[in-house]
Amino acid sequence: MAAATQDSAIRTGRVTRTLIYLVLILFALFYMLPLYVMMVNSVKPLSEITGGGMMSLPDVWTIEPWKKAWSTAQIGVEPTGLRPYFWNSISMVVPAVAISTVLGALNGYVLTKWRFRYDTILFGLMLFACFIPFQIVLIPMAAVLGFLGLAGSTAGLVLVHVVYGIGFSTLYFRNYYAVFPTELVRAAQIDGAGFFQIFWRILLPSSGPIAVVCIIWQFTNIWNDFLFGASFASGNGAPMTVALNNLVQSSTGVKEYNVHFAGAILAALPTLLVYIVAGRYFVRGLMAGSVKG
């Protein structure tokens, strides 16, 4: 790891170090809290929860809530559990992340290595687009999707996520490529390499770290989206978050909190996994460029 091998110039005393460890561990506990609440309540019977023991460890341990959330809980009229919706999310997230990342990389490449007049303004406009609140685009977006014939399809959802994802993916790649030596690009041009050849042979091979950052960011945002998923997917094609929402929200029905928590953790597993597995590359990716000018 880059972190461990780097020789930091700062030296600290023993007392300070103990304090630092203490603070770090306290914060780790703080970050773990909600996960603890979710975990303990997902493995106890409902009666213990409604009986008031929400924070304590279970008296009776059970994995029934997990089984139920995954395969037998009522999502709509059919007791299917969350299982069938998992694939829906995957088939939406993978193309959306792939396309928005590729577009972001190309945009970043153009905006830094093939600069033209007003390119900064165009970039500014793309960046400002990140800030649009999704609630206001819902109705016009529905009209456009209907016009394109993509309403109620996974392709429509992919389009929506690509559109609102390219702002950030362009930002990441632009900042990363901005510090990439332009001389290499010029040298390749003199050798006669074309636009795509330069991108393919020179920039792409060194884009790993920023691609990881971009993919993590997009993956989490798209996976966790509820509003678009609920509005633009068909019932059977609904993503995981919509199914989870159907599981945990009920206005006038009995609330099975233990099943809700188990379902919530199941729905979050892919993003958790992405963070845990790719987390170490994440800091490295940020370090490699996106937070430097």
């Binding site: 709509g76 088939s91 819902l138 109620g152 997917a233 059977n236 006038t252 029905g253």
Partner: protein, 416 residues
């Protein structure tokens, strides 16, 4: 790179056709009944249709008592892809009817005689311009009180008949160290209580004038101030921790004997039954004191979206299945509500259900059946939410009763 692009475009193209559009012979149903019992009950309907060779495309969107589903519906209609049938409540149905988006169900209604068996107050929400536009599934009544029988017995409390009885019972419980009233501090729950309190304080004429006709005089009257004062009494007798609590957890307090009463609609019964409690033995259900004659209701219905001018065969089949006595009975036994038609046998229902059905029939025939303000059956969503704002602000101590009355008049006039 180019290969990759080619691959993603072809995946995209393939995906474009994987979206499941409701094919002919299917009904696509948008609803928010996703919790165990409700969804299982809806499955009965699905089975009915499948026996007639009609497929069911499920489109559940839960959340916010139907708010999420209504948002999704707008997106779907805007996209030109309206579902065949949509669960909806009160004024939402009339609004869609006024937009001319709903199919005319008169033919089915005439054949099945809906006009004779559905209470008039409910028909008002199922018809637009003399045409049936939706099929009512149930009637929830909202002015119920749920009580833990053991707690009441231990403190020598009989079922309160008047507001004075109720305050005495509350004081007795308070003195005994039991939380008198279990309540969840969410705007709609505050408003549900307010509905019953206003009805009890001013009687049915006052309720109608204030919440249905939005008469400024009634809204700004001393009776309204009295109703807010009674809300303050209730506020003083809930536990400190009421704010934001789900209604289910408030019900659990009554079930566990931590609290005496809860004011909540008939769906609360499901929580008691789920905990293995028996109506009449472990828990009691009775009308809010002073509203024994009246029923405030909200009704779930399915509205049918126009599929090119005429009602499709599938929509007609769905509508007639919804109104069939056997489905009405089977569904409502599970849901805790009562059938939308008054001629269904009460045999399958428990004590509370039987009482609910008798109350509904009596209230319907004596003109005492009113749409619930708190549940969007007295006025437009904008007005309902404006009233919510004031009731909730008062309940949480932001306004005193006199200010609340002034604010109520203002808020209602801005929202109209």
């Amino acid at each position: 790179m180019r290969d990759f692009m080619k691959m993603t475009t072809s995946t995209l193209a393939a995906l474009a056709f994987s979206g499941s559009l409701a094919t002919a012979g299917d009904v696509e149903v948008l609803h928010w009944w996703t919790s165990g019992g409700e969804a299982a009950a809806l499955n009965v309907l699905k089975g009915d249709l499948e026996n007639q060779g009609i497929g069911w495309q499920d489109m559940p969107v839960a959340g916010g008592g139907g708010t999420e589903a209504m948002t999704v519906l707008r997106a779907r209609v805007t996209a030109g892809d309206a579902p065949t049938a949509v669960q909806a409540l009160g004024f939402d149905i009339l609004d869609w009817g006024a937009q001319g988006a709903l199919a005319d169900l008169n033919a089915v209604a005439a054949k099945e005689g809906w006009d004779d068996v559905v209470p008039a107050a409910l028909q008002a929400f199922a018809k637009h311009d003399g045409k049936w536009i939706s099929a009512p599934v149930n009637v929830h009544s909202t002015n119920w009180v749920w009580a833990n029988k053991a707690v009441l017995d231990a403190n020598g409390i009989a079922v309160p008949q008047t507001w004075e009885d109720f305050t005495a019972a509350v004081d007795a419980l308070s003195a005994a160290g039991v939380t008198p009233i279990a309540h969840g501090g969410q705007a709609w729950q505050d408003a549900t209580v307010f509905d019953a309190v206003a009805m009890s304080t001013g009687g049915p004429e006052f309720y109608k004038a204030a919440f249905i006709d939005l008469d400024e005089e009634a809204l700004g009257s001393d009776t309204m101030k009295e109703a807010f004062d009674r809300m303050a009494f209730i506020r003083a007798n809930v536990d400190d921790n009421f704010s934001g609590r789900d209604w289910n957890l408030a019900t659990a307090m009554v079930i566990n004997g931590e609290a005496g009463f809860q004011m909540m609609g008939d769906w609360a019964k499901g929580e008691f039954l789920n905990a293995g409690k028996v109506p009449g033995e472990d828990f009691l259900c009775f009308r809010f004191p002073g509203t024994q004659e009246q029923v405030t209701f909200n009704a779930d219905q399915f509205m049918m979206f126009d599929q090119g001018g005429v009602v499709s065969k599938e929509q007609a089949a769905l509508a007639s299945a919804i109104l069939s006595p056997s489905f009405q009975s089977a569904f409502n036994v599970v849901k805790g509500s009562v059938p939308a038609r008054t001629d269904v046998s009460d045999e399958a229902f428990d004590a509370c259900g039987k009482q609910g059905m008798a109350d509904l029939a009596a209230a319907a025939s004596s003109g005492n059946l009113f749409g619930s303000m708190a549940h969007g059956h007295a006025n437009q969503a904008s007005v309902k939410n404006a009233i919510y704002d004031v009731v909730t602000a008062h309940f949480n101590g932001e306004y005193d009763s006199a200010t609340a009355v002034e604010e109520l008049v203002d808020a209602v006039s801005i929202a109209q």
